[in-house]
């Protein structure tokens, strides 16, 4: 009997890793997997107006998905949301990654105190409360004389009446504003990661290159950037997924009518609007959200593939 019991626990011994992983797995399940399961479930219900008690038990099959694709097909406003999302992500991602890389490299080559000041300056957009930061740009781009940009352009005589960038220059006006505002916020993230990466590169490599007469550009291109490959991969993937789901700044700029409703709304904001405004159609929003999650997953996977994530996590050969 004792032998059998010990044999049983001997088998359990194999699961010791699992035993210690259970707390973490519970958290992952509760906060990562369960919301996805709930979103998928809600997308099959007619949930609206937050009325969980009334609608959550009712299943309508793929009706919300059908409505969503029907709207894409018939509503020009919904179609422009997708075009806006593609342009917004492509351009902002480029700005975020290249801008962060440029800032990190530029501050590497300048005097330390100056570089710290510049980095802090670029962190301000991220530190400022979203509403305050958005309000600053609202008044900057405002389509009347109270707008800073218009008042400057008027005072130096470049224009004779205020221009409405966000509403009149369609679609690039609203796109420029949302890309500009989000680009400024996102650059600081890349900058921090890349600065930290550069600081971990052995200084001897840079000094040796300097001794050999290498320019800043050559040092960046031949030494620093190749050694930061995995950091660039990480920032690109992370920012791509962030941009796919970000909407806070854009929400305020659209709400305040600074930018065009259709060409200022991205997919994630569309989901928010469907769920929390108008008819409070949480079932429809969940369907749009599930598709966004699938697309996000596919895009993330493609990015990791293209940038060679597999090679980064390959086990070391052990024969160094």
């Amino acid at each position: 009997m004792l032998y059998k019991l010990n044999n049983f626990f001997h088998k359990l011994y194999r699961f010791e890793a699992l035993f210690f992983l259970i707390p973490a797995l519970i958290i992952v399940f509760l906060f990562f997997i369960l919301p996805v399961i709930l979103s998928v479930y809600i997308s099959f219900t007619p949930l609206k107006n937050w009325n969980i008690g009334k609608y959550l038990g009712e299943i309508v099959g793929f009706n919300n998905y059908y409505r969503f694709f029907y709207m894409i097909q018939h509503d020009p406003g919904t179609r422009s949301v997708f075009l806006t999302t593609i342009v917004f992500i492509a351009v902002t991602l480029t700005i975020n990654v290249l801008g962060g890389l440029f800032l990190a490299l530029a501050t590497f080559f300048v005097y330390e105190k100056a570089s710290a000041f510049i980095r802090t300056l670029w962190l301000l957009p991220r530190m400022a409360p979203i509403a305050v930061y958005s309000l600053v740009w609202y008044y900057f781009f405002h389509a009347s004389r109270i707008g800073t940009l218009n008042s400057i352009l008027l005072s130096i005589g470049l224009i004779d009446k205020p221009i409405d960038i966000g509403q009149k220059i369609i679609p690039w006006g609203p796109w420029s504003i949302i890309i500009f505002v989000n680009g400024l916020v996102g650059v600081s993230f890349g900058m921090i990661v890349f600065t930290s990466a550069i600081n971990n590169i052995p200084k001897e490599l840079v000094i040796a290159a300097r001794v050999d007469g290498a320019t800043n550009w050559q040092i960046s291109r031949r030494i620093l950037i190749p050694l930061m490959k995995w950091h660039i991969l990480y920032v690109t993937t992370w920012q791509l997924l962030s941009l796919l789901t970000t909407y806070a700044h854009i929400f305020l700029l659209v709400k305040w009518n600074l930018v065009h409703r259709d060409y200022g709304t991205t997919w994630s904001l569309y989901i928010y609007n469907a769920a929390f405004t108008g008819t409070f159609d949480q079932g429809l929003a969940a369907a749009a959200g599930v598709i966004l999650v699938v697309i996000g997953g596919v895009l993330g996977w493609i990015t990791l593939k293209i940038l060679g994530f597999d090679r980064m996590i390959t086990r070391p050969r052990g024969d160094i």
Binding site: N6, F19, N51, Y66, N257
Partner: protein, 566 residues
């Protein structure tokens, strides 16, 4: 092997200990004596020999009902009833919240006089400027039990809130108070209903006059004598508004010919649909109506005004405090589509920049009277009728009213009855009249309208020598000082006739969404992004793009060919 065996044994012991602890905790939780279950067995047989009432039969005699509800609550061991109130609107309409605070005091006084030892406490007094945003917050918080017990907001939300079961059906209670209901204007009571059931009592209403700046009219040559009669008779239409607006601009009398409200097409701009003879709702089919002809004509007027520089093409994005109101009160526009509440809002908010001191200030009642003329919203074209549009606000009761109080599940009916009695009392003529005079809304009861004609009462109100609790007096003191004036009372009396022409936007679940499409279309024609025909088709495309909205909307009429404006 022995070492490993020992390690395995350690794990075995650890797992057994963990399992035992978990089982012990579960057992402890299950076996813990339940406080609620124990209470009745120890106290009820000795302290309450008979079961106290969980509800009373309302009689229609307010004082009697209040006392009976109070006694029933007391018998159930309740000494304090907590309620919260959410209201929203313009800065002067705070009585939407403080009316409830005042009622709590009045009921407490009645209970005190009748020896009932229960008190109402208003715990949360939330007042927001944006009524739509507050409605959205109510929707999200009601299912969680975190929304206000009293919700004072537009009637237009009644359909959704009633459909979802978020507000209380007061039909049965209200039937007992038929004599009170008779004193309300009947059209307003109809607006409180959804599918024949009543979900609120009217709190206020208003009209949306066309304001005309008198000095600009004088400069332009527009004769204002009897203009309101001409508008009433359909002799002065939107073509005339256009022609005079154009002259005002051409002669340099004003920067703009017309300014209107921003953001939403509901409720201000949909007046155009009625002014062009259209409809927004089909009661037989219970569907929102898209009247292509009337909407085309409305959008054409907007488009024409904007193209000729008479109406700012970005008005839908204008700032209320920095652009819209300052433009009107400074005389930079001849016409303005506004609301009756503007009349006192201009007096209490500092929209006007005094040219002598170069400082901003509110207007004096005399200035508002001297500078502004007002009429109904003119007919769209000859042969059509002038209109105005009302959006009555309602005293609504949360279907979970009283939930923050003890024994809620048991005494729900009593808490609901008391909540109903609170809104009955909030309809007292003086509370309604105070709200009307300080916010320039129209009274909902004949008794309140009569009180506004009483100059002695107005003088007392001006000096706050009336029966109000201190908290309410302090809250409205500044507004009362700025607004209680015979000129404002006269204004309310003068615009009262507009209610005969009033229309209501439909209280239909998909109407808010359709109104959003209207607002987008107006914005697009004003900015020149679309012409009126494209904008009508845009609205129809938006409606047809969602099968659920499409099913609730009926599209009628055709875009007229050869129609010209002005």
């Amino acid at each position: 092997m022995t070492g490993r065996y020992r390690a395995v044994s350690k794990y075995a012991v650890a797992i057994i200990v963990v399992v035992i602890i978990i089982v012990a905790i579960i057992a402890a939780v299950y076996m813990m004596p339940k406080e609620e279950a124990a209470t009745p067995t120890t106290t009820s047989p000795t302290t309450t020999p008979t079961t106290p009432p969980k509800a009373i039969e309302l009689t229609g005699d307010f004082e009697k009902d209040v006392v009976e509800v109070g006694k029933a609550l007391e018998a159930n061991g309740i000494s304090e009833v907590k309620y919260s109130v959410w209201g929203a609107g313009d800065p002067n309409s705070v009585m939407r919240v403080y009316g409830i605070v005042e009622v709590a005091e009045r009921i407490n006084k009645i209970w005190e006089e009748n020896g009932v030892n229960v008190r109402i406490t208003i715990t949360d007094k939330k007042y927001d400027a944006d009524f739509k945003a507050q409605y959205e917050e109510y929707l999200s918080k009601q299912p969680l039990g975190q929304a206000g017990d009293f919700f004072v907001n537009s009637y237009v939300f009644i359909s959704v809130l009633a459909k979802e079961g978020y507000i209380l059906d007061i039909t049965d209670y209200a039937n007992k108070y038929s004599s009170l209901l008779e004193d309300f204007y009947s059209t307003l009571l109809d607006a409180m209903k959804y599918k024949g059931r009543m979900y609120g009592l009217p709190q206020d209403t208003e009209a949306r006059p066309l304001y005309i700046r008198k000095d600009v009219a004088g400069c332009t040559g527009l004769d204002l004598s009897n203009l309101d009669e001409k508008v009433k008779n359909g002799e002065f239409t939107w073509s005339d508004v256009y022609n005079w607006a154009k002259q005002a601009k051409d002669k340099g009398c004003a920067e703009w010919g017309l300014v209107h409200r921003k953001g939403s097409a509901h409720p201000d701009l949909v007046q155009f649909i009625y002014a062009f003879g259209g409809e927004l709702y089909d009661p037989d089919e219970d569907k929102v109506v898209i009247d292509k002809e009337a909407i085309y004509k409305w959008l054409y007027v907007e488009w024409k005004f904007a193209r000729d520089g008479l109406l700012p093409e970005d008005i839908m994005a204008w700032d209320w405090a920095k652009q819209i109101h300052p433009t009107i009160v400074s005389g930079n526009t001849l016409f303005d589509i506004g609301g009756t509440w503007y009349w006192t809002e201009w007096q209490t908010k500092e929209y006007y920049t005094d040219p002598e001191t170069n400082e901003t200030r509110g207007l004096k009642p005399e200035e508002v009277k001297e500078w502004f003329y007002y009429t109904l919203f003119p007919a769209g074209e000859s042969g059509k009728q002038p209109v105005t549009l009302s959006q009555p606000f309602a005293w609504m009761i949360n279907s979970k009213a009283g939930q923050q109080n003890p024994k809620y599940d048991d005494l729900k009916e009593l808490y609901h009855e008391l909540a109903f009695l609170v809104i009955v009392k909030a309809s007292d003529p003086d509370i309604n009249a105070i709200h009307s005079i300080i916010s320039s809304h129209l009274p909902v009861r004949k008794a309140a309208a009569n009180l506004l004609k009483n100059s002695t009462w107005l003088d007392k109100l001006k000096n706050l020598e009336i029966d109000l609790c201190d908290e309410v007096k302090n809250a409205i003191k500044d507004i009362v000082e700025a607004t209680v004036h015979s000129i404002n009372a006269e204004f309310l009396a003068n615009v009262g006739y507009m209610l005969e022409y009033t229309k209501f936007a439909p209280s239909h679940p998909v109407y808010p969404k359709v109104a959003e499409f209207f607002a987008e279309a107006v914005d697009k024609v004003l900015r020149g992004e679309m012409d009126p025909e494209q904008a009508v088709n845009y609205i129809i495309d938006k409606v047809n793009a969602d099968p659920e909205i499409k099913a609730e909307v009926k599209i009628v009429g055709e875009i007229p060919s050869g129609w010209s404006f002005p």
